[in-house]
Amino acid sequence: MSHVPIRNEIRRLRFDHAEMTQADLADRIGVTRQTVNAIELAKYSPSLEVAFRIAHVFGVALESVFHYEAGADRKR
């Protein structure tokens, strides 16, 4: 869980949505604030369900939130 080849736009999307806090987002998708932080820092890859919930909260498509970096190997 140390590094994942998936980047995300969560920090920017939070900022664009009235500077939503990590805690607010966590409450809305049903995880802890620390898990949102880990996802945001690309230290943890969420399940598809949580990924879709994040996209739903921001009202955007999944690919507008997460980007897969081909070639960036997962370090375990």
């Binding site: 869980m1 140390s2 805690a23 049903g30 995880v31 802890t32 604030r33 620390q34 898990t35 932080n37 880990a38 820092l41 230290k43 943890y44 969420p46 399940s47 949580v50």
Partner: protein, 146 residues
């Protein structure tokens, strides 16, 4: 309104269990091994000390776990999220290997005719080490993601 905690409820809980187990059972095994090293293995009443340590562990765990629950009531009552479940599963996997190695070692000791004080405490040590390994694995995973 509760202040936002830098550590999640489950990480705090893992820290409490880790420190309580390592501290109290560490004390127990240091006293026990000192008695054995001093040649008092046959007369040392380890049962009484063990009961005291276990009671103290339960009291410390209950008091501190209740205290962190009161600080973060929402998190304490919420089910673990997917990342926390993944961390717990990995930690249980680590603990399983520790307890299996301990059990195999004790089986060998019994087969070789080791006295009861070594086999019973050895088995107990394996269980304690497994619990310490489980909590250490959780703390390391939580810290790595922070």
């Amino acid at each position: 309104m509760f202040r936002e905690q830098p550590l999640s409820f489950r990480e705090q809980s893992a820290w409490i269990s880790l420190l309580a187990y390592a501290g109290l059972y560490g004390y127990y095994f240091v006293v026990l091994f000192s008695a054995i090293a001093a040649g008092r293995a046959g007369t040392f009443q380890y049962g009484q000390l063990l009961v005291r340590v276990m009671v103290l562990l339960v009291v410390i765990e209950v008091v501190l776990q209740v205290a962190i629950s009161l600080r973060s009531p929402k998190e304490a009552t919420a089910p673990a999220d997917e990342r926390e479940r993944e961390i717990a599963l990995k930690a249980t996997h680590v603990a399983f290997h520790v307890v299996m190695i301990g059990a195999a070692t004790i089986c060998a000791a019994i087969a070789l005719g080791a006295p009861a004080i070594y086999t019973t405490n050895g088995l107990f040590l394996a269980i304690v080490l497994a619990e310490v390994a489980r909590n250490t694995s959780q703390v390391v995973s939580f810290r790595r993601d922070a």
